[in-house]
């Protein structure tokens, strides 16, 4: 048997034998990314909806910055959060560096522009199509943004799932601010990087399988949501969003 098939077989053993170390890492990854997404979505949905409707001087510059932040590498976000949380940084007194909280903060910052930008686009399209009718009913910008975001809730669910996919599959930010400490801040992606460098391919592969499984589950969720929307509304008008590992 080649190294690859041997490693894959051992990885499957680890998965099926409920290996405690592996599933602890998986649980921690899910917890970090879910918490980060919840925080980022709380702010990003409101901010994105408002940006989709509001018109103000400098809006173009704000959107340019937002779109730029979409492409920021996770290691750069990690570096920024590291500088903020390091002992000499402005938030050093919190003592969050190399902790669960630090990883959540880094992933939330990483995902926030994704949620904000996609929400902004959805709500802006809806505002272009229907905003005038809501205005004719007496809805001001804030109410319009909330109503249109609520009306696009199924499309926004897919945005949330996509954001979760982005969070759980990143490695740079959590590696820098979490430190990949065994049993404490080690998550799937940092563990894969470490185990691969050590040559422990079975654990890295097993974690890789789980990560792929999570991303597959997210995409299945998106497909099911779309199908449900088709049944509820008769037609789908929202964008197609997928998750990449």
């Amino acid at each position: 048997m080649s190294t690859m098939t041997q490693s894959a077989a051992t990885a499957l053993d680890l998965l099926t034998s409920a290996d405690a170390a592996l599933w602890t890492i998986v649980a921690r990854s899910l917890a970090v990314s879910a918490t980060a997404c919840a925080l980022a979505c709380g702010a990003g949905l409101v901010l994105g909806a408002w940006l989709g409707v509001a018109r103000f001087a400098g809006r173009g510059a704000v959107l340019a910055v937002l779109n730029t932040l979409l492409a920021v590498p996770s290691v750069v976000v990690g570096l920024g959060v590291y500088l903020l949380l390091s002992r000499s940084g402005p938030l050093g007194a919190w003592g969050w560096l190399f902790s669960f909280k630090a990883m959540v903060l880094a992933q939330a910052i990483l995902v926030l522009p994704v949620v904000t930008a996609l929400t902004r686009q959805l709500v802006e399209d809806a505002e272009r199509a229907h905003g005038e009718q809501l205005r004719s009913l007496g809805a001001g910008p804030l109410l319009r943004s909330l109503l249109l975001a609520w009306d696009e809730r199924y499309a926004l669910l897919t945005v949330l799932i996509a954001a979760f996919g982005r969070a759980i599959s990143e490695v740079g930010a959590v590696m820098i601010v979490g430190g990949n400490i065994d049993g404490f801040t080690r998550v799937m992606t940092t563990a894969i990087a470490l185990e691969t460098s050590k040559g422990d391919l079975p654990l890295a592969l097993a974690l890789g399988f789980v990560l792929l499984g999570v991303v597959l589950a997210l995409n299945v969720c998106i497909a099911l949501l779309r199908r449900w929307r088709e049944r509820v509304d008769g037609a789908v008008t929202g964008p197609t969003i997928g998750v990449a590992a």
Partner: protein, 257 residues
């Protein structure tokens, strides 16, 4: 109705005309420009209570812009819009927007946005749905209703707000003949004095249409627009049977073919 973005100049209520009727709207030399496009050019118009005014003209002639100006959705770039400050108004669009919610909640939301608390709004919405024959669809997702039903739902949403003036932008343009008849019947009913404010309170209507048969059936007065200018402003009988400017005559002839 509260919170409407009125665009009129801060002028006084329009003066009464010779018959003593105080106009609901008065446009004086109103211009609307979108960049280089002159959507409305020096439009003078008075609308008095109880009128059923039809706006006709080719696509791009300024009908929709005029309605949007009357409703405060577009601001005149020159001229003055005077309006009766106490009048309430509602507007219907060619393709009404319904939220992903029940028909009942869509109507109630329109009332809530007008300042009615949610619980009474839902009760009033039920009455409005009954008025347009959609009571049985109250709990149905508004997006799943047919085009004609959605337009009737939009009429219910407008009617529930007890408007003095109803502005309608080609309300039957995208409907099949059966749905068209249903919507037209409701418009006629509102215009004939069965508005939400009571039997002796006809709703003043300003509507745009390409359907000259509909204009004949519903309007009391017709305004013909071309390139943003009012080319004819006549009682409905005179518009169809009297002499017309050449452009309006050709339009009527073309549309009636």
């Amino acid at each position: 109705m509260s919170a409407r973005p009125w665009a009129e100049t801060p002028a006084a209520t329009p003066a009464c005309d010779a018959s003593g009727a105080s106009p609901l709207f008065e446009l004086q030399r109103v211009d609307v420009r979108y960049g280089r496009l002159h959507a409305l050019a020096a439009v003078d118009l008075r609308v008095v209570p109880g009128e059923r005014l039809a706006l006709v003209g080719a696509n791009g002639s300024g009908k929709s812009t005029l309605l949007r100006v009357l409703h405060g959705l577009a601001a005149p770039t020159a001229g003055q819009l005077l309006r009766e400050p106490a009048s309430r108004q509602a507007m219907l669009f060619q393709r009404p927007f319904m939220l992903r919610a029940s028909a009942l909640n869509n109507v109630a939301l329109g009332l809530w946005l007008g300042g009615v608390p949610w619980k009474p709004a839902r009760l009033q919405a039920l009455a409005a749905l009954r008025r347009v024959g959609l009571l049985e669809a109250a709990a149905q997702n508004a997006r799943t209703l047919s085009g004609g039903q959605q337009q009737r739902l939009a009429l219910a949403r407008a009617w529930a707000r007890r408007p003095d003036v109803l502005l309608l932008d080609e309300p039957t343009a995208s409907l099949d003949p059966h749905a068209k008849r249903e919507v037209e019947a409701l418009m006629a009913d509102f215009g004939a004095g069965h508005g939400a404010a009571g039997p002796a309170h006809p709703v003043t209507m300003v509507f745009s249409s390409h359907n000259l048969g509909q204009v004949k059936r519903l309007a009391s007065r017709v305004v013909y627009l071309e390139h943003g200018r009012v080319m004819a402003d006549l009682p409905v009988h005179d518009f169809f049977h009297g002499p017309l400017p050449e452009a309006a005559r050709l339009f009527v002839k073309g549309e009636m073919v």
